[in-house]
C-alpha cells in the first residue's frame, strides 16, 4: 500500500534531471573506461621503464602488477612524497566509497557483507579528511614545486579542485543532516528504474552535481589510471589531449549545465537553507502526517528536545524519548516488547538499512518501561512503516 503510494508520487523536475544526469554520467564513465582499456590492450608493448624488476616469470609479473596496483610500488621507489600523498588519497577514497555504499546497496543483496558498510560509516567520515589531505598535498606540489608546476595544466587544477570541493560539500551535508533514506531510495530507484524524488537540499544537490561532473570528467583526465593496469609496461598513459577529446568533453560539460539549472531553480525557490520545522507541531501532527516527514526530521527533532530537557528541565511528554519508545513498541515472539538488539525493533529496520547507528539506546532504555504497555498494539499500525525495506525487496 505504502509502496503503491510511492510509485504514484509526482516526480520533481530536479529529480528527473538528476536521474538522467546520473545515467548519462555513469555511461560516460563506463564507456570511457572501456575505451581506455582497449586502447592500452591494442598498443604494442613499450620499452621496459628503467629500474623495473627483471623477473618476467608469470609469478614475478603478477607480484609486480599487484604491488604496483595496491601498494603503488613504482611511485614508492621513484617519488616518495607523491607516494605518501597517493596513499592518503587512495585509502581515504576507499573508505569514503565504502561509506557511500549505504546509498547504493540493499542489505539483502550483500548478506553479511553489509557489516563492512556499517563498520565503514565512522571510518569513512575520517577517510574523507585523509583523502582531502592527500589532495591538498598534490595540489600544493603542483603550485609550489617549480618542476611540477611547469607540467601542470588547467585540467589538473580543475580535477584537484573537484576532489577537494566534493568532500567539503559532503561534510556540510553531514552537518546539516541529509535525509539518508530518501537519498538511498533515489539511487536504488535509479538501479531498479523506479525513480523516486530526491531531497532538494541545496548542499545535497551541489554535492551530487559535482560528483556527476567528476564522473564525466574522469575519462578525459589523466586520473583514470585504473585502466593503466592493462598497459603492458605498467606505464601510465600521459593522456594526449587531442582536439577531438576536448570537443567531446566540452559537449558533456555543457550538458551538465541543464541539471544544474534545474537545481538552481529549485534552490532559488526554497532558499539555500531549509528552515527548521516547528518541532512541537511536528511531534503533535506526526501520527497523521506522511511518515517521510518524521523520517526526515526526527534526528533534528531529537537533538532539539534533548537539549530542552537536559539544560532547561522542560519535561513535556513530547520531549521524552520514553514516549517515543512507549508508542512505537513492537511485540516480540514472547509477546513482550523487543529491545533494539532485535531486528523487529521499530527504529532498527530503517537504521540498519541506512547503516546509521542508533546511539540513543546506549543510555536510554529501548523498551517501554511503564504505564503504557497498552501501546503494544501499535505493532500492527506501524507494520507498514518499520520493515519498509523488507516489504520492498520482497515485492521484487
Amino acid at each position: 500500500m505504502d509502496n503503491a503510494e510511492n510509485t504514484r508520487q509526482v516526480l520533481s523536475y530536479v529529480s528527473v534531471a538528476y536521474a538522467v544526469m546520473f545515467y548519462a554520467a555513469a555511461a560516460v564513465l563506463l564507456v570511457g573506461l572501456a575505451l581506455k582499456i582497449t586502447q592500452y590492450l591494442r598498443e604494442p608493448p613499450r620499452l621496459r621503464p628503467p629500474g623495473a624488476s627483471g623477473d618476467d616469470s608469470r609469478f614475478g609479473s603478477t607480484i609486480r602488477v599487484a604491488t604496483d596496483v595496491f601498494l603503488f610500488r613504482g611511485t614508492f621507489f621513484s617519488d616518495r612524497v607523491q607516494w605518501i600523498f597517493s596513499a592518503f588519497f587512495h585509502i581515504g577514497l576507499l573508505l569514503v566509497i565504502l561509506r557511500h555504499l549505504r546509498y547504493a546497496l540493499e542489505p539483502a543483496w550483500v548478506g553479511p557483507l553489509w557489516n563492512v558498510v556499517i563498520v565503514a560509516q565512522p571510518l569513512g567520515l575520517y577517510g574523507g579528511l585523509v583523502m582531502m589531505a592527500g589532495t591538498a598535498g598534490f595540489w600544493a606540489r603542483r603550485i609550489f614545486d617549480p618542476d611540477i608546476r611547469r607540467a601542470t595544466t588547467l585540467s589538473d587544477h580543475f580535477m584537484l579542485g573537484l576532489f577537494l570541493l566534493i568532500p567539503a560539500v559532503g561534510y556540510i551535508n553531514n552537518i546539516l543532516h541529509t535525509d539518508v533514506i530518501a537519498v538511498k531510495e533515489f539511487f536504488l530507484g535509479l538501479i531498479r528504474v523506479q525513480w523516486t524524488n530526491l531531497p532538494t537540499d541545496s548542499m545535497l544537490l551541489t554535492h551530487l552535481w559535482l560528483v556527476a561532473v567528476m564522473m564525466v570528467a574522469l575519462p578525459f583526465s589523466q586520473l583514470l589510471h585504473l585502466a593503466g593496469v592493462f598497459d603492458k609496461t605498467q606505464q601510465m598513459d600521459n593522456g594526449r589531449n587531442t582536439k577531438a577529446r576536448a570537443a567531446v568533453a566540452g559537449v558533456f560539460g555543457v550538458l551538465l549545465l541543464i541539471p544544474a539549472a534545474f537545481a538552481a531553480g529549485q534552490v532559488a525557490e526554497e532558499g539555500w537553507t531549509r528552515p527548521q520545522p516547528n518541532f512541537a507541531k511536528l511531534a503533535r501532527a506526526h501520527k497523521n502526517d506522511d511518515p517521510t516527514v518524521m523520517i526526515r526530521n526526527h534526528p533534528n527533532f531529537l537533538m532539539n528536545v534533548r537539549s530542552i530537557t537536559v539544560y532547561r528541565g522542560v519535561r513535556k511528554d513530547i520531549n521524552k524519548i520514553e514516549k517515543c519508545v512507549d508508542c512505537h513498541a513492537v511485540k516480540g515472539a514472547d509477546g513482550q516488547p523487543v529491545g533494539f538488539d532485535n531486528p523487529k525493533h521499530f527504529c532498527v529496520g530503517c537504521h540498519y538499512r541506512a547503516a546509521v547507528s542508533i546511539d540513543c539506546f546506549e543510555c536510554h532504555n529501548s523498551k517501554p518501561t511503564g504505564k503504557d504497555k497498552a501501546a503494544l498494539d501499535m505493532t500492527t499500525k506501524f507494520a507498514a512503516l518499520a520493515p519498509r525495506s523488507n516489504q520492498r525487496s520482497s515485492e521484487r
Binding site: 522542560v314 543510555c363 532504555n365
Partner: protein, 241 residues
C-alpha cells in the same frame, strides 16, 4: 523539630502534583512548576543534612538512591556505581565519630564544569549540577576535579535503565538531586527515604526562598559547607559537622 507544611508562592502552580504533599517528609515545601516552564535562576535547590540525626548504621539514603536510579553492584566495589556515599569521620583527639552522606554538592561554582572539555558538565539555572551525557566523552577530568569525590564513571554495560535516568557505559555520572523528581514537584529519593526511616536528617528546599524551611533553618542554625575554603559554594550544607 516542628516543621509544618507550607505552601509557597510557587506551590500553587502544580495543581495535581501539589496533592502529593501529604506523603512528603516534614519540612518539605513543594515548588512545582508547569512542565512547559524551564528551570529558573530564581530558585536554588539545596539540601541541609543534620549530622546529629544521621546514624552510622543507617544506609537508607544510599539504598533509596540505588533503587531510584537502578544502580546495581557488579561485585566489583572499586568500580561499582555509587552516587551517595556514607562517610564516617573520627576526631583522633577525642575518638568521636560522625557519619553522614556525601553526594554531589551542587556547587555554585562547580570545578567539574570548569574542567569539562566538551561542556557536558553544567550547572542548571536552578543550581543543580548535571552532566549532559549526549556530549560527554568520558574523559573523567570532572572526576579528578571534584573535591567531593562525587562523580562516578560508568564502567559496565547498563541495561533496563529507568526511563527518567538514562545511563550508559563510558560516561561520567553523579547525583542529580533527583532532578526528574524535582521537575515534577517531588522531593529527592534520599530525602524521602531518610524521612521514612524516622530520622529526617535531610531537608530539601529552595535556598533562595526566605520562607522555605531550609532557608529558615540555614538562617537559624549553624551549618557548614564541606571544604568551604575552596569557595565552590555548595548547595548541600551540613548541620552539626
Amino acid at each position: 523539630m516542628s516543621e509544618s507544611f507550607e505552601v509557597s508562592r510557587r506551590a500553587l502552580l502544580g495543581g495535581a502534583v501539589a496533592f502529593t504533599a501529604a506523603t512528603l517528609a516534614p519540612g518539605v515545601v513543594l515548588y512545582a512548576r508547569s512542565s512547559d516552564e524551564p528551570a529558573t535562576g530564581a530558585v536554588r535547590w539545596g539540601l541541609l543534612i543534620d549530622v546529629n540525626q544521621c546514624k552510622g548504621d543507617c544506609n537508607a539514603c544510599v539504598e533509596a538512591c540505588n533503587t531510584e536510579f537502578g544502580l546495581v553492584s557488579h561485585g566489583r566495589p572499586d568500580t561499582d556505581p555509587q552516587w551517595v556515599r556514607k562517610v564516617t569521620v573520627t576526631d583522633p583527639e577525642t575518638g568521636v565519630s560522625q557519619s553522614f552522606p556525601v553526594m554531589c554538592q551542587h556547587c555554585a561554582h562547580p570545578p567539574c564544569a570548569d574542567v569539562c572539555p566538551t561542556g557536558a558538565s553544567f550547572r542548571r539555572a536552578d543550581g543543580i549540577v548535571l552532566i549532559n551525557r549526549h556530549i560527554c566523552v568520558g574523559c573523567r577530568y570532572c572526576e579528578m576535579a571534584c573535591p567531593y569525590k562525587a562523580r562516578n564513571f560508568v564502567h559496565e554495560n547498563v541495561t533496563d535503565q529507568k526511563p527518567y535516568a538514562p545511563r550508559g557505559k563510558g560516561t561520567s555520572e553523579a547525583c542529580t538531586m533527583c532532578v526528574h523528581r524535582i521537575d515534577e514537584g517531588r522531593i529527592p529519593a534520599c530525602v524521602e527515604a531518610c524521612a521514612a526511616s524516622g530520622r529526617a536528617a535531610m531537608l530539601f528546599g529552595d535556598l533562595n526562598d526566605p520562607n522555605s524551611d531550609i532557608a529558615k533553618r540555614v538562617a537559624a542554625v549553624n551549618s557548614a559547607q564541606i571544604r568551604a575554603d575552596l569557595r565552590t559554594d555548595p548547595g548541600v550544607r551540613y548541620q552539626g559537622l
